[in-house]
Symmetry: C2
Subunit: 273 residues, 2 copies
């Protein structure tokens, strides 16, 4: 398992520099020589969609993905409909921003019926997939860590994400693999292999102990216990050659100057990923 020798595939997921606007994050990437960025919809909204699209285009920074669509399960049919509509808007935004990947955080439990919620997810993705295909957008099902099953995503294993992608059977539905969410899984290497041809994104960070927070407790690569290089190698072997996003939710990292975070991130990427 060889280290990466350049930052050609590196992408800043803008959640890592939470305090930066789209403009600041894109300019930061350009200064640091980071070729790509993963954008978030609330940040794009703050900056303005057309303005954001122009900023990335003019900076020559490519958009590796847009976060996030999903959030399909809801109690009422009306609310589910609203969420499907919102996914269509997210697809339009992804197309406008020039990225071909919309990351799906599938949504949590509206009540205690887990099977029903999971069915709503599969149905929701199947429903928006043709719309996305027409716009050249791929939908990446990102299994989240099981600790988010209740409130963020009932899809919590790569096996399950693969199952849903296979069941839907659309060319433009695949999976996004974030090490933080899947590293603990005894079946992860089998499932990465099984995801071959369907991997739409790979996110890195680390699991630190003790975790300072459930949501904002991720670490910089190398500060934790995840076998980053082994996982990256497995994803490589499965044929994924696309961007590798660094996505870290962490108050301490957010409090540092963005340029410093990008510098550290580049070093750690080459050292640990």
């Amino acid at each position: 398992m060889k280290p990466l020798t350049s930052i050609d595939r590196l992408s800043l997921n803008q959640a890592t520099t939470e305090k930066w606007s789209v403009r600041e994050a894109v300019e930061g990437c350009a200064r640091a020589g980071i070729p790509a960025i993963g954008l978030w919809r609330h940040k794009v909204e703050e900056q303005g969609l057309k303005e954001s699209a122009r900023i990335v285009r003019e900076a020559g920074v490519s958009v590796s993905s847009l976060c996030r669509g999903g959030m399909f399960p809801a109690e009422s049919a009306e609310e589910r409909r609203r969420r499907i509509d919102d996914n269509r808007r997210a697809i339009d935004e992804a197309a406008e921003l020039g990225t071909d990947v919309l990351v799906l955080v599938c949504g949590g439990l509206p009540n205690n019926d887990l099977d029903a919620a999971r069915k709503m997810v599969a149905e929701g993705i199947a429903e928006v997939a043709p719309y996305a295909a027409e716009r050249g957008v791929n939908l990446g099902i990102e299994p989240l860590h099981p600790m988010f099953a209740a409130d963020r995503s009932v899809i919590v294993t790569l096996e399950h994400a693969n199952d849903i992608a296979i069941e839907i059977g659309a060319e433009n539905v695949g999976v996004v693999i974030d090490v933080y969410h899947v590293w603990w899984d005894p079946n992860v290497y089998r499932e990465i292999e099984r995801a071959k041809g369907r991997i739409l994104g790979f996110h890195v960070n680390d699991w630190i102990v003790p975790a300072p927070d459930m949501l904002r407790g991720r670490g910089m690569m190398g500060d934790g216990l995840i076998e980053l290089r082994r996982l990256r190698h497995a994803v490589d072997v499965a044929g994924y050659t696309g961007p590798i996003e660094v996505e870290i939710f962490n108050d301490e990292i957010w409090s540092k100057p963005g340029d410093e975070v990008l510098k550290l991130m580049k070093e750690r990427y080459l050292e640990h990923v």
Copy 2:
């Protein structure tokens, strides 16, 4: 899926009444008509082992399990040896307390080699199993929630716990199923069925949103999103007829008077489990 009609199978895991000593918890159970208790080693040590054994015997409260053995992975061979010895002591204590179940919390990652840590767990259990068998003690592998993979248990799915139990192949090695740790798993019902004949314990509580804390954020049955009755039914169908322990780590519950907690626990058990 019918509700339970009595508290015949109810057991207080003493972690639920953290502020009570062994004596207080056993007397609380006796007052409340709760027929069994799950004890913790640090509490037994505070009370004294022989004294604890006498207290439960005299109160006519049976000991459903002792928590916990395990914690097998360690960096050095010497430390691993110390932990094996500690498991032997835990087995002796279980026998002395008159319970036939020692719950194993298998241990976290000493470094970033997850496979090696998992191997240490399987080897550790295999090594102590004959010692336990001679003393009439069964070893219950409790898969923990994946959020504890780094610091508490590298065994995080029931599938994996089943695999290890099957691989070891000893009559006295099985699994303990705690709803909090397994409820999110898309394979949980398949694996409960597969655990048939090997289920050594069933623990109930709930997953509340938002979780106030990773470790001490469990809820009382009915306050969260876990399909408790469905899981209990599946465990029943898999042939488990033993005690159902209520195990809740939660600061708010710990701050309430124990008798009140036991009263609520009985009501919620009949209503939701």
